[in-house]
């Protein structure tokens, strides 16, 4: 398997209160805040996973974008798929970290929430996705200043070339107080889009 033989099978973007699959609009709700939007998107996508509502915003975002790409592959398969997860962002789990910090700052009113605390790591998002889709695969969550197409390309190519994974779900899941953005793509031996740095940047920047 040569790196140039790999393809981008499908890609998903969730940002600006819109959900797109391969640049096709699946859902939009331009009026609401993130909480309202992601709940409506969850229902529209027929996700049907009650634990979704217990997740923090970063996990909700990553979970929903992943589910759109993985559900058609994993839902009817009895055998677990070897799909690696390679995610990245710049804010880590900062939004939830702040929420936790607010609950412990006052020593007279010190009631940290266990349900908040468990999400004070960005890779918890990967665990939620792995549980839902029965993935026992490689996973990594990198923190970059900006979207790093070259790094993701090399890492995904390496995982498939060394047979650590059959496919790799890659991308950027970022969530902070003011903004959120999900861009995920599935690297595979199938598909019509070349898997190279230029194409990844093109897909990422076409919003």
């Amino acid at each position: 398997m040569k790196a140039q033989d790999l393809k981008i099978k499908e890609y998903c973007r969730i940002s600006n209160n819109r959900v797109l699959l391969n640049a096709q609009l699946l859902f939009e709700d331009l009026g609401g805040d993130f909480t309202t939007f992601i709940k409506m998107a969850y229902k529209k996508m027929d996700t049907n996973y009650p634990k979704f509502f217990k997740m923090d915003d970063l996990s909700k975002l990553g979970f929903l974008a992943s589910d759109i790409l993985l559900k058609p592959i994993t839902q009817d398969s009895e055998k677990p798929k070897n799909i690696a997860l390679v995610f990245s962002n710049s804010a880590s789990s900062l939004k939830t970290d702040r929420k936790h910090q607010e609950s412990i700052v006052d020593k007279e009113n010190y009631f940290p929430s266990p349900a908040v605390f468990v999400y004070t790591l960005p890779n918890i998002c990967l665990g939620e996705i792995s549980i839902k889709h029965r993935l026992y695969s490689e996973n990594s969550f990198f923190i970059f200043n900006h979207f790093n197409a070259g790094y993701l390309h090399d890492y995904a190519s390496s995982l498939i070339k060394t047979e650590k994974a059959d496919e790799v779900l890659c991308g950027w899941i970022n969530c902070d107080v003011e903004d959120y953005e999900a861009f995920l793509y599935l690297v595979s031996t199938e598909g019509s889009i070349a898997h190279n740095k230029e194409e990844i940047i093109k897909l990422y920047t076409t919003k």
């Binding site: 709940k39 009650p50 509502f53 217990k54 009631f111 940290p112 929430s113 266990p114 349900a115 468990v118």
Partner: protein
């Protein structure tokens, strides 16, 4: 006591983010864990925090929670007997 049970149902749904469950779907004797409401270990820790924060009850041994959180009925009885606020 019925007010306390109602209050507990509301708190559990809100604080544990049980989005798809309505108050009237929770019977007083339903199991909160396992085949009942299906709460998990993190939910159990949240309930321990809730007892402390809202009712002034500190559980020093988390194993106590297994009995106390059996159902709304059991929880309400325990809170009524031990609450400090």
């Amino acid at each position: 006591m019925s007010d306390l049970k109602q209050e507990l149902k509301e708190k559990i749904i809100t604080q544990l983010n049980l989005e798809d469950i309505a108050i009237d779907e929770i019977a007083d004797n339903d199991s909160l864990f396992g085949d009942g409401l299906g709460l998990d270990s993190i939910d159990a820790l949240e309930l321990i925090v809730m007892l402390d924060k809202d009712y002034g009850i500190k559980l020093t041994d988390p194993k106590e929670g297994k009995k106390i959180f059996e159902s709304i009925e059991v929880m309400a009885n325990y809170i009524a007997q031990h609450r400090t606020k």
